[in-house]
C-alpha cells in the first residue's frame, strides 16, 4: 500500500459512479475510480428510451458514452478491480481490493446491483455451462433447444419472449402462485404454444455432466425433473454491499442514505442502485452520483 491519500475514491463505474467522477473532475478533486466493469447494469440493458437527451439509445451505447465522458476528464479508472473490504478510522477510509489497498478522505459507494443467484446445488458448477444470468448475451447458444427460465417478473418474461424466437420449448419456473410483471408481456408469454408455466414451483437442483441436462423442480403436486439444455436465472437483483460491515443497510442489504447521499459514517456517501433510494433508474443513479460528489466536495472543505 502506498501512503498516498486520495481526496475521493469512487467504488463503481455505472451511471452513479461515472457521474460522481465527472463532477469530481470539474471540482479538481484528487480522485480514483475502482470498478469491476464500466457501465454497470446499463451495459447489460436492452433499449433505453428514458434517459434525457437520448430519445433512443441502446444500453451498451449509453455505457460507451459514459466511459467516453469520464475518460475525457482524465480521471483514473481502475477497471477489473473488485473491492473486498472498506474500513474507517480517524476520518480516513481504507479500501482493500483484489489487487491492492488504497486510502481516501472521502468515499462514494456506487457499486450497484448484480443478479440474484438461486443458491441450489449445481448452480456454481454449471455457470456458463448452460446456466446463465443474461438471456440477452447468451441466448443464441440455445437455438432449437429446450430451456428453463427461473422467475416470474418482468425480467423473466422478457427473457421468455427473447427465447421464444430461439429455443424449441420454454418452461418457466415461478415461485409465486401467479406470474407478475406487465400484463401485456404476461399475455404474450402465456399465449405462446412454446411456453409452459409452473407456478408455485422452485428449482431444487441443476443436474448434468459437462453441461446442463435437467433440473429438479418442487411443484405443488410433487417433485419433477425437467430436461433442458439451458437455465436462465431471472430472479431479480441484489446490492453489491458485502464489503461494507460498518455501514448501515436495510433488510434488502441496500446502503441507507439520507437525501444528501450521506451514510451513517461521516465521509462515506453512497449513490445509485446499491442504496435505498426510491427508484432504480439510470437517470436517478446519475443524479444521485452528482449529489454524492458535490456532498463529498463540501465534506472535504469542512475538514480543512
Amino acid at each position: 500500500m502506498t501512503d498516498k491519500i486520495y481526496e475521493l475514491i469512487i467504488i463503481g463505474a455505472g451511471p452513479a459512479g461515472i457521474t460522481a467522477g465527472v463532477y469530481a473532475a470539474r471540482k479538481k478533486m484528487d480522485c480514483l475510480v475502482i470498478s469491476v466493469d464500466i457501465g454497470g447494469q446499463t451495459a447489460w440493458s436492452g433499449d433505453v428510451e428514458n434517459y434525457t437527451g437520448y430519445q433512443f439509445i441502446s444500453g451498451p451505447e449509453l455505457a460507451a458514452k459514459f466511459e467516453e465522458h469520464i475518460k475525457r476528464y482524465g480521471i483514473d479508472v481502475n477497471e477489473g478491480e473488485e473491492v473486498q473490504e472498506v474500513t474507517s478510522s480517524e476520518g480516513i477510509h481504507k479500501i482493500k481490493t483484489t489487487s491492492g489497498e488504497y486510502k481516501a478522505k472521502t468515499l462514494i459507494i456506487a457499486s450497484g446491483k448484480r443478479s440474484r443467484e438461486l443458491g441450489v446445488p449445481g448452480e456454481e458448477k454449471f455457470k456458463n455451462k448452460g446456466l446463465t444470468y443474461c438471456a440477452t448475451c447468451d441466448g443464441p447458444f440455445f437455438e432449437n433447444k429446450d430451456v428453463v427460465i427461473v422467475g416470474g417478473g418482468n425480467s423473466a418474461l422478457d427473457a421468455a419472449l427473447q427465447m421464444e424466437k430461439i429455443a424449441s420449448f420454454i418452461t418457466i419456473v415461478n415461485v409465486t402462485p401467479e406470474l407478475g410483471g406487465d400484463l401485456i408481456m404476461q399475455e404474450k408469454v402465456v399465449g405462446s404454444k412454446k411456453v409452459k408455466v409452473l407456478n408455485g414451483s422452485e428449482v431444487m437442483e441443476v443436474i448434468g455432466d459437462k453441461f446442463v441436462d435437467k433440473i429438479k423442480v418442487k411443484t405443488p403436486s410433487g417433485e419433477i425433473e425437467v430436461p433442458c439444455k439451458g437455465v436462465f436465472v431471472e430472479i431479480g437483483l441484489m446490492p453489491n454491499s458485502a464489503f461494507t460491515k460498518d455501514i448501515k443497510k436495510n433488510d434488502m442489504d441496500e446502503i441507507i442514505v439520507n437525501c444528501q447521499t450521506e451514510t451513517n459514517i461521516p465521509g462515506i456517501f453512497a449513490a445509485g442502485d446499491v442504496t435505498n433510494v426510491a427508484e432504480k433508474q439510470i437517470i436517478i443513479a446519475a443524479g444521485e452520483g452528482a449529489k454524492a460528489s458535490l456532498r463529498a466536495f463540501k465534506h472535504l472543505a469542512e475538514m480543512r
Partner: protein, 77 residues
C-alpha cells in the same frame, strides 16, 4: 500479426468492450456473431468447453470473457 478471432453476440457488453480493446490496440481480428451462425456457436462450445461469450481465439489460445491481462499476454502487447 497473430490470428485473432472474437466469438460474440451483438448485445453482450463485454464482447463490445473486448472488441473495442483490440481496436484501440490496433489488433486486427475476425468478429464472429454466433447469434446468426449456429455452426460457429457449436464450434466455440467445443473449443472452450463452455457456453458464454465473448470467447477469444488468439493463435489457438482460448480466452473466455474479457480478461485484459490474459489478452495482452497472449498478444504479447
Amino acid at each position: 500479426m497473430k490470428n485473432v478471432k472474437v466469438y460474440s453476440t451483438p448485445t453482450c457488453s463485454f464482447c463490445i468492450r473486448a472488441k473495442q480493446f483490440l481496436t484501440d490496440n490496433n489488433v486486427e481480428f475476425e468478429s464472429i456473431d454466433i447469434s446468426t451462425d449456429p455452426e460457429r456457436a457449436k464450434e466455440i462450445v467445443e473449443k472452450s468447453g463452455q457456453m458464454g461469450v465473448p470467447v477469444l481465439d488468439i493463435e489457438g489460445e482460448i480466452i473466455v470473457g474479457f480478461d485484459k491481462d490474459k489478452i495482452t499476454s497472449a498478444l504479447g502487447i
